[in-house]
Amino acid sequence: MAVHDSAAPLTLRAPRRRYSEDIVRIVLLMAAFVSVVTTFAIIISLLRPAIEFFTEISPWEFFAGTTWTPLFLEGEFGVVPLLVGTLVITFWACLVAIPCGLGTAIFLSEYANPRVRAVLKPVLEVLAGIPTIVYGYFALTFFTPFLRDIGVQVEIFNVLAAGLVMGVMLIPLVASLSEDAMFAVPNELRDGGYALGATRRQVATRIVVPAATSGIVASFVLAISRGIGETMIVLIAAGQLAQISADPRVSLETMTAFIGATAQGDVPTGSIEYKTIFAVGLALFVITLAMNIVSIRLVRRFREVYE
């Protein structure tokens, strides 16, 4: 090291190997390894019963079947109704979360002064921190009766209330990620727009939003993935009627609601009902994982462009 060169009277020798330093490094690495073990444990715990499931029920019947009655004596295992339920509810959630989240992000990034931001950001954090069970309660006991009051003839358990409330829950997620992406857009681009006589709206919608597209899209993808994986709101407010319907006033069952509802009872290990939980869980895991990977890629792209 450089220090030794200047200190002439020191006897020069190779530094003593410090084993304690190596031990620290190994201990820290082992802690990091816990996350890897978790991932493999998730995959193994899903795969093993799922594979057993697919030896009893053909994948074709599972992925193409349109009747889902796994808990009946002569059950049918077509997962399509659960997929449809999941997608329909997520659609309604995104109808709220994407425009409002993006609007909130534009407001925070391009319009709000520092004092407004200082108030608004913690409020959004609170909104994001409210447990989903609370949103479920709100959807069931407030929003569904409210929809009926304003003349929407919804069933007690319905897609509309669950989806819209989930949408509000996702607003902070979309807003904060999109705002991060807009924040990374350099000011020179905005100044250039203003110099050409653009209005604030034009700078926001034609310069900042296009420049931040990959980050904004990442936030949408993540919101969809979060919506697909959300359990408590749909379990409480959307019911468990596995049917294929585009009518938001009726009850549908999502993949998560099925897993949550079925695992509550003490399902005997090894029974087909028990394995069904894992087959559906595997489908859910693969779908959300794929979307998360897409969103991580997109975020990395805007980081590379501007940072």
Partner: protein, 289 residues
Amino acid sequence: MSTAAAPIGRPRRDVRGGLFYLLLLFSVGLALLTLAVLVGDVILDGGSWVTKTLLLDPPSVDPEIAGARPAILATIYLGLLVLLLTVPLGVATALYLEEYADKERWYNRFLEVNIQNLAGVPSIVYGILGLAFIVRGIGLGRVLLAGAIILTLLTLPTVIIASREAIRAVPDSIRQGAYALGATHWQVVRRQVLPAAIPGIATGSILALSRAIGETAPLLMIGALTYVSFDPTILGAFTALPVQIYNWIRQPQDEFKLLAAAAIIVLLVIMLLLNSVAIIIRNRYQKRW
């Protein structure tokens, strides 16, 4: 608009810009309004049900005398256990990734991507993991410790990501200074980097904890939906506050829904307290370099 030369004079009123601004205000307002209505609704429903009975008595089939004592205690135990398990693991992982890992190595990159992915896994999938691996696989059973382990694994990615940010915020000059004085790698990390990063780590960990105690689905999966009338123990059956709330929401009698609202108030107050602590730490101790 762009082709015709605009006459010089007072600028035209920007009608579209005004409408756009209104739209933005609407989207912000929707979130704020919902938050206000939600909190108001819960307080109106459950406010008068937050009583000593709710806080100190065990559950009952009669809503008038039903309490959430075992659930509240279990949630406190779960919170403490999660904190005890997550913080050392999370901080150690973050230290490894920030201070030790060579970013060019494939396994370190894999570690990073893996943690990012884990952060996006739906909580119910962690419930499945708990059911298959911890409750049945290693045979721990449907006990509080199993719940704590699940919540720990669920919270870990968040704590790691927050801790990494806190560690990254410590400027390199601090490290270089310590090295110049002859400190070893671990001495630099232990005596300079870690103390400087603690406020950020604490804030991130407390926020993650407040998320963890609000989780319902994974606990539901490992059988926390049981009637527990006694005070919980670490290796005994348990029910947590959010699960108790879910249980009451499902009951047909309206009184139980009001009781659920009351329990929601208790849960929100606990979370609000945790969040305030986190914000106080952030404002008081966080250093600006």
